[in-house]
């Protein structure tokens, strides 16, 4: 039956204050939190630049700590060598681990355990990695009892086969940093590979490509940018590590290129100099911080520019 009753006119002028208040509050809180975070970051960076820029001199890059004027050439080189060793070990292992998790691991509890372990490792205080490498690689154990002893024994056999000496060394430092990198890179790689749409894999499989070919020629190139970002984050992270290096690379006041020797690094020098009573040394620590941050920044930018996608032509 057709109704001739017209509905009561809706009052669009009627204001509900509750929802408006909540959304206004949410917006204010989020904006304020973002502002605080940014402000803190700029205060820290600004303070560092202000304190550090005075010591920025050619001699900082060309001289050694015991020379006059003081410099940190050996520490800059040391940090680069340590990060390079760590990347050489950590990037392939981390990436392969991530590829395993995303592409080959069975779906089930074992994979969940691996993933959880990696997440825990990524959050483990990094000093632990220093202690472990110290125990296994740096010190020459007196006896080889227990399973730690067995690991030590094999580590020493591999070490002597590779011609790596015992004691504090660049190799030990690089290894400790590599252990820090592996879980970060593995999880980043896994996440990026999972983002590659199934349709790409299906298309490749449908053309007769094997799983490995699909992975190498389609999936990895598609995920490349994200994986590289993950690797850059990991490198930046270990370039700023201090604690594990105390147990492994230890530091050196002279110029060292040989990773079999004790290896200096910027972070360690920053720690040592910042504890000093001498204001001149403390100023050097600030300059070293500024140089370290700039190095990471320049390196990240360079890798991004070098690996970015060539611009898509649309005509």
């Amino acid at each position: 039956m057709p109704s001739d009753i017209t509905p009561a006119p809706t009052n669009f002028q009627h204001h509900e204050w509750g929802p408006r208040l909540v959304s206004a509050l949410a917006k204010i809180l989020c904006t304020a939190a973002a502002a605080v975070a940014l402000l803190l970051l700029f205060v820290i960076l600004g303070y560092m630049v202000w304190k550090g820029i005075g010591g920025l001199h050619w001699s900082f890059f060309t001289n050694l700590p015991l020379e006059e004027p003081m410099g940190m050439r050996n520490c800059i080189v040391g940090t680069v060598i340590l990060a390079a060793i760590a990347s050489l070990i950590g990037v392939p292992i981390g990436m392969l681990c991530g590829i395993y998790l995303a592409e080959y691991s069975p779906k089930g509890w074992s994979t969940a355990v691996i993933r959880l372990t990696l997440d825990v490792l990524a959050g483990t205080p990094t000093i632990l990695f220093g202690v472990v490498v110290y125990q296994i690689v740096v010190v020459r154990p007196q006896n080889y009892n227990g399973w730690v002893g067995h690991i030590s024994l094999w580590a020493h056999r591999v070490q002597s086969w590779l011609g790596i000496t015992n004691g504090y060394s660049g190799w030990a430092g690089g290894l400790a940093l590599a252990l820090i990198m592996v879980p970060i890179i593995a999880r980043a790689t896994e996440e990026m590979l999972r983002l590659v749409p199934l349709s790409h894999r299906e298309a490749s499989a449908g053309l007769g490509a094997s799983k490995a070919e699909t992975l190498w020629r389609v999936v990895l190139p598609t995920a490349k940018a994200g994986i590289i970002t993950g690797i850059m984050l990991a490198i930046a992270r270990v370039a700023g590590e201090t604690a594990p290096l105390f147990f492994t690379a230890f530091g050196n006041d002279t110029m060292v290129y040989n990773p079999n020797r004790q290896m200096p690094s910027l972070t360690e020098q920053i720690y040592n100099y910042s504890q000093s009573d001498d204001p001149h040394w403390r100023a050097q620590a600030w300059t070293a911080s500024l140089v370290l941050v700039s190095m990471v920044l320049v390196f990240s930018a360079a890798v991004r520019i070098a690996t970015r996608k060539r611009r898509i032509r649309t005509h």
Binding site: E202, A203, G206, L207, G208, A209, V218, I312, R313
Partner: protein, 285 residues
């Protein structure tokens, strides 16, 4: 010709005069002699876990003809199509029983080279899925993975495939632009070019036009007609008019069963089964 049941040749009972308003532009195969079969399916059953998605399907697909698979969603038509190049291998808990022969060879036999099978049976998917690479690299990809080497050889084959797919004139000046810069219809034709680059015998198309506009659809349909001169094509479609326009033969599936199969004209104008009649006249879908 296609036979729903190997013992009965229903196409012999076929005789024209349609009354349902759908008129085919594709002539019914003239030769009634035993055409060479490209695909022969026997007692095919497909399970997803405990669920039986395909029930005892027997089917023959003629060489160098277009065969359409029609039926409502979930009737198993895509699943069957994906048995022909063993794409179902990629689906966990999917189990296939029975035999599928392509040009006489049982593709589910032990020791089958699945990579080679998929090279021989190209596939085009519902949604255009070009790789995020250049137009040229998309078509070169299957050539490279199947061992074709040499810049000139690859360039020549890429051009040939793009010409066959009717895309060459539109892209010849920007072969190194990203494939993702193409329109949807162009992307789908690129996928066809990619699939036919290694000269497959059979081309499987899983609702190739469902994501395209009518003009792009028309282009793809005439491409299907053109390609069927040299390649056997199986096309899954939701669109009954499309089946009428492109297919020589049509197979109607319902609830995992092959209900009826025969020349397209007969399926749409004079079907034997009442379910087929109900479906093609739009009484359910």
């Amino acid at each position: 010709m296609i036979l729903a049941d190997t013992s009965t040749d229903i196409s012999q009972k076929a005789h024209g005069a349609g009354t349902h308003g759908l008129t085919g532009t594709v002539p019914v195969t003239t030769s009634a002699t035993a055409a060479r079969q490209a695909v022969e399916v026997q007692n095919l059953e497909v399970f997803y876990g405990q669920h039986r998605a395909v029930h005892n399907v027997n089917l023959k697909i003629n060489h160098r003809e277009v065969t359409a698979f029609i039926g409502p969603s979930g009737c198993g038509k895509s699943t069957i199509l994906r048995c022909f190049n063993r794409m179902n291998d990629l689906v966990k808990h999917c189990r296939v029983q029975g035999s599928v022969k392509i040009h006489g060879a049982d593709i589910y036999a032990r020791g089958t080279d699945v990579m080679e099978l998929r090279k021989r049976t190209g596939m085009v998917f519902q949604k255009p899925n070009p790789f995020p690479k250049s137009i040229h690299e998309n078509v070169a990809y299957p050539l490279r993975i199947h061992g074709v080497r040499g810049k000139a050889v690859i360039a020549e084959k890429v051009e040939k495939s793009l010409r066959l797919a009717g895309l060459w004139d539109e892209v010849k000046d920007r072969l190194h632009a990203s494939a993702l810069s193409l329109s949807g219809g162009q992307q789908q034709r690129l996928c066809i070019a990619r699939a036919i680059a290694v000269d497959p015998d059979v081309l499987l198309m899983d609702e190739p036009c469902s994501a395209l506009d009518p003009i792009a659809t028309k282009t793809i349909e005439s491409l299907i007609n053109e390609l069927s001169k040299t390649i056997t094509i199986v096309v899954v479609t939701h669109n009954m008019h499309q089946a009428v326009r492109v297919a020589h033969q049509t197979a109607f599936f319902y609830m995992g069963n092959l209900v009826e199969t025969g020349p397209t004209d007969k399926i749409f104008h004079n079907p034997v089964q009442h379910q087929t009649l109900a479906y093609v006249t739009g009484q359910f879908g």
